[in-house]
Each structure stands twice: as structure tokens, then as C-alpha cells.
């Protein structure tokens, strides 16, 4: 599908653009991805209003997470989350076995050091979506072997 590839290419160009300032500095290990995360946050925040328009009111937090795993993920990545785990105390782990931004890179450990760049946007996307549903959270990602990816959501309770 043409519209899918447009999104993927735009995403990778945003990453390249955001990395531009840190290329000049010699510390090649450290890259600043907060801009990418923020772009994701803003997009997630706005898209949520649309996606939940026809949806009945969410019962609780778990219900909201299920929505993220099914409808939200399908809308953006054309597939559902493969595995959702929670400790029922505000920590959720979402596992995607074939994360779309990583599927084209490798089937193993090659390019593994660059993988975090391509999950920052999605972390922001989840965080923004949840923020609009009044759930403040910290979202981190973990890539052990491409193309599978785990997103950890820590809900901040006040």
C-alpha cells in the first residue's frame, strides 16, 4: 500500500533530521531523541480524540490498555499487539513480535544499536494517547532481537 510506505519513509526522515545536531558532536553514543518523542506525543494526543469517538466509555485502566493494543495499534501499524502483560499495579508490557519500523532492517542482531531510534516515536505516540485519556505514564521500549519490540508503560499515580 502506498500510504503505508509514505508514513514509514517520513518517519525515518524525521529520525535522520532529529539526529543531525548530534552527528557533529563527537559523542556518537549519545543521541537526543526527545524531539522525536515529542512529535509522537502530539500526534498520539490528537489521534486519540478521533479514535475514541465511536467507542463506549472505558471501564478502567485495563480496558484502556486493551484499546491501545487492539484498535489504536491496528490504526497505526495494521496489526494488533501480540502480547499484553501487567502486574495490576500500573506496569504494562506490550510486546509486538513484528514491529513495523523494524521489520525491514534485520532478523536478528544486526543494526541492533540503531534500533532505539526507531522506537522513540512510538513511545511518544503511546504516551500522548494515554495522556489524552487522563492516564499519565512513562513509556520506554526494549529491543532484544529485531524485529520484536517490547513497550513498558509505567502509569504515574498521584
Amino acid at each position: 500500500m502506498a500510504d503505508d510506505i509514505v508514513f514509514e519513509l517520513l518517519h525515518s526522515e524525521i529520525i535522520n533530521y532529529a539526529l543531525e545536531p548530534s552527528k557533529n558532536s563527537n559523542s556518537s553514543k549519545e543521541v537526543d531523541l526527545s524531539v522525536v518523542e515529542y512529535i509522537g506525543f502530539a500526534a498520539g494526543y490528537k489521534i486519540m480524540e478521533r479514535l475514541t469517538r465511536e467507542w463506549p466509555r472505558f471501564k478502567d485502566e485495563l480496558d484502556t490498555m486493551k484499546f491501545i493494543c487492539t484498535d489504536f495499534w491496528t490504526c497505526i501499524y495494521k496489526k494488533q499487539i501480540d502480547n499484553l502483560r501487567t502486574n495490576h499495579q500500573g506496569v504494562y508490557v506490550l510486546q509486538d513480535n513484528a514491529f513495523r519500523f523494524l521489520t525491514n532492517f534485520s532478523n536478528g542482531h544486526q543494526y541492533l544499536e540503531y534500533a532505539p531510534r526507531y522506537v522513540a516515536y512510538t513511545c511518544g505516540l503511546i504516551r500522548g494517547g494515554l495522556a489524552n485519556l487522563c492516564i499519565n505514564s512513562i513509556v520506554t521500549a526494549e529491543v532484544q532481537s529485531m524485529p520484536s519490540c517490547k513497550f513498558h508503560i509505567h502509569v504515574q499515580r498521584t
Partner: protein, 155 residues
């Protein structure tokens, strides 16, 4: 005939209040705000009972109804009726009808429901405007125009 609609944010701050009509008592900003805010307590109450009902696992027929975004008639005064709608993102949409005007006194619930659903669609479009920051007042003239025509035509 709707005389006023309002969009209230997550923290109960007004994002947009618009009104039309020749009804002089509502033709100024202050009375509009007052009308809309009288309904907010009733709205919160309605939401709280929704959550309580869901927490207790009493499976009854009303439960599916309570999960509806449209909350129905919230409050009525001698001259006005106030209807509410709360989105999943905790944005409150309030619609006020005048019961003194002939078209407003016998308004049907289904009409209000469709009007509020359409208002929600307009709001979602306005939010997606990149110049609008979340939590800010909606100053889009396009949104204003669309809402005014919604008030005139639909209800």
C-alpha cells in the same frame, strides 16, 4: 432550538462557548457561562455513578446505557434545558435549549443526541488543527461558523 453550546476541558475550564438567538436573557456571555456551569455538577455526579455501577459487577441493562457518551438531560430551569455529553478524553460538551421558544419546548432526545455527536466530530477536527495546542481555547473561526450552523439547522 439550541441557544448555546459549550466545550469544557478536562479541568472544567471553558474551551469554547457559543450562543445564538434573539433570546435576550442568553444573549450575553455571562448568562451563557452561568447556564453552562450550572450543569457541571450534575455532569460530574452522572459520571461518578457510572463508575460506581461499573465497579460493582452488577450486570444490568442500564449498564450498557451508562457507558454511552451521551448523558441526556442534566438540568432544567424554568427557561432552559441543559444536555450533556462527555467524550472518552474527558471533554465535556454541553448544549442548552430554550424551553420558551416553540421549537425548543418539544425537542426530542434523539435530535439532541445527533447534534452533540456532530459537535463531537467538529471538535475532533478542530483539535487536529496543528495551530491549536491542547488545553487552549478554541479560537478557530471555521469551528465557530460550523457550530453556529449546527445550532441553526440541526436542532
Amino acid at each position: 432550538m439550541a441557544v448555546c453550546v459549550a466545550v469544557i476541558g478536562k479541568d472544567n475550564s471553558p474551551l469554547y462557548i457559543g450562543g445564538i438567538g434573539n433570546d435576550t436573557s442568553t444573549d450575553n456571555e455571562l448568562s451563557r457561562q452561568w447556564l453552562v456551569h450550572t450543569a457541571l455538577d450534575a455532569l460530574e455526579e452522572r459520571l461518578a455513578t457510572t463508575n460506581a455501577n461499573n465497579a460493582s459487577a452488577s450486570a444490568n441493562a442500564a449498564r450498557t446505557d451508562l457507558r454511552d457518551l451521551y448523558l441526556g438531560l442534566l438540568y432544567s430551569t424554568d427557561t432552559h434545558k441543559i444536555y450533556g455529553y462527555v467524550t472518552n478524553t474527558k471533554i465535556k460538551l454541553v448544549l442548552v435549549t430554550s424551553s420558551t421558544s416553540p421549537s425548543g419546548s418539544n425537542i426530542r432526545d434523539a435530535e439532541v443526541r445527533t447534534a452533540l455527536r456532530r459537535l463531537h466530530a467538529l471538535y475532533a477536527d478542530a483539535i487536529c488543527n496543528p495551530f491549536h495546542l491542547p488545553g487552549d481555547q478554541i479560537i478557530s473561526q471555521k469551528f465557530d461558523k460550523q457550530v453556529k450552523s449546527l445550532m441553526l439547522n440541526n436542532v
